[in-house]
Symmetry: C2
Subunit: 309 residues, 2 copies
DNA sequence: CTGTTAGCGCTTTCAG
DNA sequence: CTGAAAGCGCTAACAG
């Protein structure tokens, strides 16, 4: 392995001078600097990752923590999200560790600052009571949440689910539907809280509208109620409603309405859905994280309009 | 930060004893060991990642390099593959860095051993001339390829594409088709070579069969030839053939046959396809990588049957 | 079996 | 503006 010492000898200078030339934290005369740079190239010197991190303590490694617990395994939108994070990270010279389906226990251990050498993290899908978030706060690791954290003052970027739900209900109302059914996400996710709120708000504002909310744990596959507009929190739920309808001979779009909030795979969907731009979400979150790692400690709260109905 | 020194003082022993107790590489009396462990817990000691890596030079971080260059952005099968790698890695206490769409230049820089602290890597989708593979060999970083490397003697796990193609052609032949068209993957991928070979082999073995191979760069959207059996190298290509057929009024399954080799999203596909188990592929590759990192340097070559026609 | 000591490669004071 | 020297926290020889 070729070290900073070899470069120093090669140039007849002290190794601290090489270090200074490389990090740019101290003035080094342009000629010397050039000479050093040339030597580095000639010798193919690569600074040792561990040594430099040990000294100044940052690794240029970030983490993307997909979801707490491994309830839902396959999420089609992960790919564009991961790729967007990856690319944005790479553009600023960062590496990205990805975690999926860690339980609270595992997360606690894998994300300890001294276990994983991370400078910062993006957390997906916050829970109402989210131990990962607390942990990042305690460890003072810069952190951006994708979604709406329940409490605390940390940076996040989220789609405005309150507004989105309200918009969806109004649109369906405009088409004549009066009876609404929100089949929400899991209760422990903050997204469900926001969606229920937007849903409820719209219902109460609209003359003659009536609505109820249910959760996946209550979902039985039974034919949808005739005359109701179903809003499914994701494509899988929409698919199960659609299937149940088909089997019972109830006609979607006619006997009842079906709308899904986000679709993992956009081919051949038999119902209306909101498009959400996961790439943008990832890109934006990563930009925020990088800037936080560079010292911008002010928490930023972004409700983005990365969706279209 | 609480260090090994604090623990040592707390227990009135030398720090090396603490280190030995923790790493288990030297004998330490059970009572002392217990005492030390207790102290670690009490003081909430976490070994410093950089320091220990600097000393013994392994980081428990692995890399998953998705594909060279960023030609194809969205690959639905990435999610199950990534998640499988992630889980398998986590089970053996490894972190996973993911890279996607690096060009040769970027790969060269990001995957330098001293830039990214990786103990080993999984490389997806090898090219006929693959600089990443050469780089890993040069740097002597343990490495497993998912796919069939063109040359060299490194570990890989792959679906036997020669056999798969041959099987597919024979199946279609058995149904009466005699004219075959393979629309292959990009020329620079080794998978294309194998597929063309299996295709050609089957054609030559089958009485009265005739076949040609073409590549994406030659693909124009024109109606498929009547009476031909098309084998598309992936779902996207199959979709474009299907679309062209629909537009020209040619009927799939009747005027021509359409078969695709692997499908990213399995809902509502209008043609036959081979199912490939990307989770298994990732899991197996990761197991091999971990064992390689643990000193098993013997290259393993696995042609798995992780597909069903 | 335990403790002392010398590094790992780099950054960072702190005198020249 | 440059260079010697002292760590960062840990591991691994090497004596006791």
């Amino acid at each position: 392995m070729i070290t900073i010492n070899d470069v120093a000898k090669h140039c007849n200078v002290a190794k601290s001078t090489v270090s200074n030339a490389l990090t740019g934290k101290k003035y080094v005369s342009p000629e010397l600097k050039q000479k050093i740079m040339d030597a580095c190239k000639e010798l193919d010197f690569q600074p040792n990752f561990y040594a430099s991190s040990l000294s100044h303590g940052n690794s240029k490694i970030l983490a993307l923590v997909l979801e707490q617990d491994s309830t839902s395994n396959y999420r089609g939108f992960y790919t564009p999200l991961i790729v967007a994070c990856l690319k944005t990270a790479a553009r600023s010279g960062r590496h990205l560790l990805v975690y999926s389906g860690l339980d609270a226990q595992e997360a606690k251990s894998m994300l300890k600052r001294d276990r994983a050498p991370i400078d910062g993290a993006i957390l997906m899908t916050p829970l109402v009571d989210d131990s990962r978030i607390r942990q990042m706060e305690e460890q003072m690791i810069p952190c951006v949440v994708i979604g709406h954290p329940a409490s605390g003052d940390m940076s996040y970027v989220d789609i405005d689910n309150v507004k989105m739900l309200s918009d969806v209900v109004k649109r369906l109302y405009g088409r004549g539907w009066r009876k609404f059914r929100l089949v929400n996400s899991e209760r422990n996710k903050t997204i469900s809280v926001d969606r229920a709120e937007g849903f409820g708000r719209a219902i109460s504002e609209l003359e003659g509208a009536e609505g109820t909310v249910c959760y996946p744990d209550e979902l039985v596959e039974r034919p949808p109620e005739c005359g109701a507009a179903y809003i499914a929190s994701d494509g899988k739920i929409a698919a199960s409603i659609y299937r149940a309808a088909k089997e019972s001979g109830t006609e979607p779009g006619k006997d009842f309405a079906l709308y899904s909030l986000g679709e993992d795979d956009e081919n051949e969907v038999h119902w209306e859905y909101a498009r959400q731009d996961y790439s943008k979400l990832g890109e934006r979150a990563m930009e925020m994280l990088v800037s936080a790692c560079e010292g911008d400690t002010e928490p930023k709260h972004v409700f983005a309009d990365y969706y279209t109905l």
